[in-house]
Amino acid sequence: MEILVCVKRVPDSAENEISVGSDGTDIQRDDLTYGVNEWDNYAVEEAIQITERLGGNVTVVSVGDGDTEEVVRREMAMGAGQGLLLTDPAFEGSDGLGLARILQAAVKKGAYDLVLTGAQADDGAAQVGGMLAALLDWPYASLVNKIEVQEGSLVIGREIEGGAQEFSDIETPCVLSIQTGINEPRYVGLRGIRKVASVEIPVLTASALGLDPATVGAQGAKVRRIDYFVPPAGAGADMLKGSTADLAQQLFELLKAKGGLK
């Protein structure tokens, strides 16, 4: 199977303290460390496991600049055979649709049976995978937590309410967005990264991809961020006092008053 996995470089959620920048347009980025988006990492692991079972290639692609390369390289250290970087000043400031257009151009350049994205990015809106599928006119399934490969199609699983599991048929080629927990991603250590340190990662620009700069980047963005703020702190929690019987009575009154009881 030829699989393309779209990955994003995001600030590490665990290793950072996020605070809003003074001009309210973005978070403070001076002291941040970055890594691969967690959902995307699960997607890459899944792709590698599929090709380990059935043969084929895994290509990891990302839209970004020189910094983004380290993320692509890390996924290659994990076991993805090829990397691909989509870099162009024209890409900066893209909204979800713009990113989807860029990725669509990259998909068209190859012959992929399957495209995977993470269900969402830490700092994202869970939209690119779906838009990409629509632009490609390919079938799309989201929040996938199980993949079984068949001839010309896949059986995919999704967790639904109450922990139940739903399975569906989907024809390939298709786009899937991957949920965390689909597998246990293998560890990538310093040694693995050093092993791929000098592997060539091809870079494609807007013109190489045949993209009109007006349709991507800040130019082509139809959704623009206008504000970024920490919500004002509320009064805090209401602490009820009294004996257990008192508390039960107070709670009952509150629930009745606020419509929590039918």
Binding site: D31, T33, R186, G189
Partner: protein, 679 residues
């Protein structure tokens, strides 16, 4: 003066003499073949230079092998074994003589002709008698008593008791046949036998029998001895009694230092590591020859597992079975008859499971206990290196490892906040970050820097250092985790990266000595890092202060409480610091201290592990910390004093889990001292 013997095996008949020449030849030939087959995997194994420190090694042989130093730690079995062992050594000469007597009548070993020979004959008879008595006790013990440490857990094969009883029976056969051989000859010559010995017993039993009958008894007992001896000799390399042959070598080549970890590959420098194709141990042949010798030498005594905290809380790890399973795996791959295996067989997922190997806290109790010098920690680290190399790391450990890489601490906290604890110390703390210099560097390490609770230990450390008049500074935001447990969890390259960054900072500080409150940091700086100034733990400094009078304490705050000291693994077992912390505690007037007898000093029970072990989610029936807290309670203590922040985490948690909040407290040594400094 030799008396002409009325009969001997060598003169019984031409047939007998030929037989008694052929048996040893066949036996030795068979034995040599078996030993050769056992050597083959050692030749294919990884290198392991073990000839250095020759003098130390000789001392270890004298103390641990000949002196059986570790055996009395399990008193009954230990004393019995010492009798067995010394008996074997004494009887070695007699056994040799016996072999030759089969085809050379009247043979005595060179030097054993005169007085020495006479004395020896007496000594050997008592030795044989003592050994038989020991064998009888061991036989009954093994057959009729269910000794816990000999039990074989479910799924790990059949009980080992039949093997043990068989060997004991063979030994008994050797002793009885030799004594009967001797006794029958004495009965014929009327010679003197040492009273109370087996030979004496047989000579009296047979006194008065006709010479031809005695000759027959003599011949048959000789044949039985000869056959049994060579059968036994060839049997030794096939099971747990291989240790009879290998123990001398295993002890000679055992580790001479504690606390350190073997390099990824001996003979390959750090700079050359990028060229190494595969890290760690993934298949049997990746072990070093010494590790394979360890597997051969395991006597199946179970002492290691009996003291292993992971085994006691029922994690899937039993050190004894690491050795036994690996030994059997090696025997299977390299059989006595038939070609050795050529296909590599992965150990993880085969004889070992991933959790089995991650369960080890590297506490060192196993190595401390083993009477044959078998090593375990290096094997665990090597197996982990192999798993890390293949990406097989539990998810719970991947996050802290990533944080260590990105931020230099397992919680992913910001570097610039590493020295924030100094603000609440109550004394001024210099830092290299701010451009200060000092003679002493206080290496704080991650947990004491970032953890809310452990910061209090760091702050107490600063105050005690200040009171002791020590000119010290911390590194500040450039200090990284020492990497101690990163290395022991198999991530060697990340460890080296942390080590190199810290080494630069430490050398740039120009400090002439390093002080730590964290035994993991102590061990890393002392045993993992190179070119460091001398490193000391706070307990050593405090004890010095008590001895010199520089540190004076007021009377203990609560004389009604009973204190006990918990030896942290990396301060006690791995670095030999047992007395200084006790001296420090005893320096507080009126403080009542008890020992957790049987579980203190080098038998201290691991709190649960430190460093990355705090993040691992083990399968266990109980927490190690809870076992430890129960031990403290049984010793009559209501306050546990420890000298390690990881011990503090585990024991504080355990007190809650055990439901002993309000009944048991835990305090760090430095905090205790800080709280009792005279105003």
């Amino acid at each position: 003066m030799a008396v002409a013997e009325p009969f001997s095996p060598a003169t019984a008949s031409m047939f007998a003499r030929t037989l008694f020449l052929l048996i040893p030849l066949a036996g030795l030939g068979c034995f040599a073949w078996i030993i050769w087959r056992r050597i083959i995997p050692l030749l294919r194994a990884a290198a392991d230079p073990r000839w250095e420190h020759f003098g130390v090694r000789l001392k270890l042989v004298l103390k641990i092998w000949l002196g059986q130093w570790r055996h009395p730690r399990y008193l009954l079995a230990g004393v019995l074994h010492i009798i067995l062992f010394l008996g074997f050594l004494v009887l070695g000469a007699r056994s040799t003589q016996l072999v030759v007597l089969g085809f050379r009548a009247g043979f005595t070993l060179p030097g054993f002709g005169g007085v020495l020979g006479e004395v020896y004959n007496v000594v050997k008879d008592y030795a044989a008698t003592a050994v038989l008595a020991a064998v009888a006790v061991l036989w009954v013990r093994r057959a009729f008593f269910k000794i816990q440490r000999y039990a074989v857990p479910e799924g790990l094969g059949k009980d080992h008791t039949p093997e043990a009883l068989f060997i004991l029976s063979l030994i008994a056969t050797l002793l009885l046949s030799e004594s009967l051989f001797e006794g029958s000859l004495l009965a014929a010559t009327g010679g003197w036998a040492a009273p109370g010995t087996l030979a004496w017993g047989f000579s009296h039993l047979l006194a008065g029998a006709a010479i031809p009958s005695l000759a027959k008894v003599n011949l048959i007992s000789y044949a039985v001895h000869d056959l049994t001896f060579f059968f036994f000799l060839c049997l030794l390399p096939l099971g747990k009694h291989f240790h009879v042959i290998t123990s001398l070598f295993n002890v000679f080549f055992m580790r001479v230092r504690t606390g350190n970890v073997k390099p990824v590959r001996h003979g390959v420098s750090d700079a050359q590591l990028d060229e190494v194709k595969s890290f760690g141990v993934k298949k049997f042949e990746d072990f070093t020859w010494k590790h394979i010798l360890d597997f051969y030498s395991c006597a199946d005594c179970g002492r290691c597992s009996d003291r292993c905290p992971a085994n006691i809380v029922k994690r899937p790890l039993s050190p004894r079975f690491i050795s036994i399973k690996a030994r059997d795996h090696g025997f299977k791959r390299y059989p006595i008859l038939g070609a050795p295996a050529t296909e590599p067989e992965p150990l993880i997922g085969g004889i070992f499971s991933e959790d089995e190997i991650w369960s080890c806290t590297t506490c060192g109790a196993c190595e401390e206990e083993c009477p044959i010098g078998i090593e375990y920690i290096d094997k665990m680290v090597d197996l982990r290196r192999g798993m890390v190399d293949e990406g097989k790391v539990p998810q719970s450990l991947q996050k802290p490892m990533a944080s260590l890489e990105k931020r230099g601490n397992p919680w992913g906290k910001l570097e610039k906040k590493r020295a924030d604890w100094t603000k609440g110390a109550g004394v001024e703390v210099k830092s290299v970050e701010q451009g200060d210099t000092a003679e002493t560097l206080y290496f704080v390490d991650s947990i004491s820097s970032y953890d809310d609770r452990m910061q209090k230990i760091a702050q107490a450390t600063a105050r005690v250092l200040d009171r002791a008049g020590v000119d010290f500074a911390v590194i500040g935001k450039d200090e990284k985790d020492s990497g101690h447990d990163v290395r022991r969890f198999g991530e060697e390259m990340l460890f080296q990266s942390l080590r190199d960054q810290n080494t630069e900072s430490i050398q740039a500080s120009e400090a002439r000595r390093i002080i730590v409150n964290d035994p993991h940091a102590l061990n890393a700086l002392k045993n993992d890092y190179a070119n460091m100034p001398p490193v000391q733990h706070m307990s050593e400094l405090i004890a010095e202060g008590v001895r010199s009078g520089k540190l004076k304490f007021r009377g203990v705050d609560d004389p009604a409480k009973t204190y006990t000291y918990h030896d942290p693994c990396y301060l006690g077992r791995h670095n030999g610091v047992y007395d200084d912390p006790r001296e420090a505690i005893d320096g507080i007037p009126g403080l009542k201290r008890v020992e957790m007898t049987g579980n203190c000093r080098d038998r201290s029970f691991c709190c649960g592990g430190g460093g990355l072990m705090l993040f691992y989610e083990p399968e266990e029936e109980q927490r190690m910390g809870v076992v430890r807290v129960e031990q403290a309670r049984k010793a009559g203590a209501d306050v546990i004093v420890t000298a390690c922040p990881y011990c503090m985490v585990n024991i504080e948690d355990a007190i809650k889990v055990a439901g002993l909040e309000g009944k048991m407290e835990v305090i760090d040594l430095v905090e205790l001292v800080d709280g009792h400094l005279q105003p």
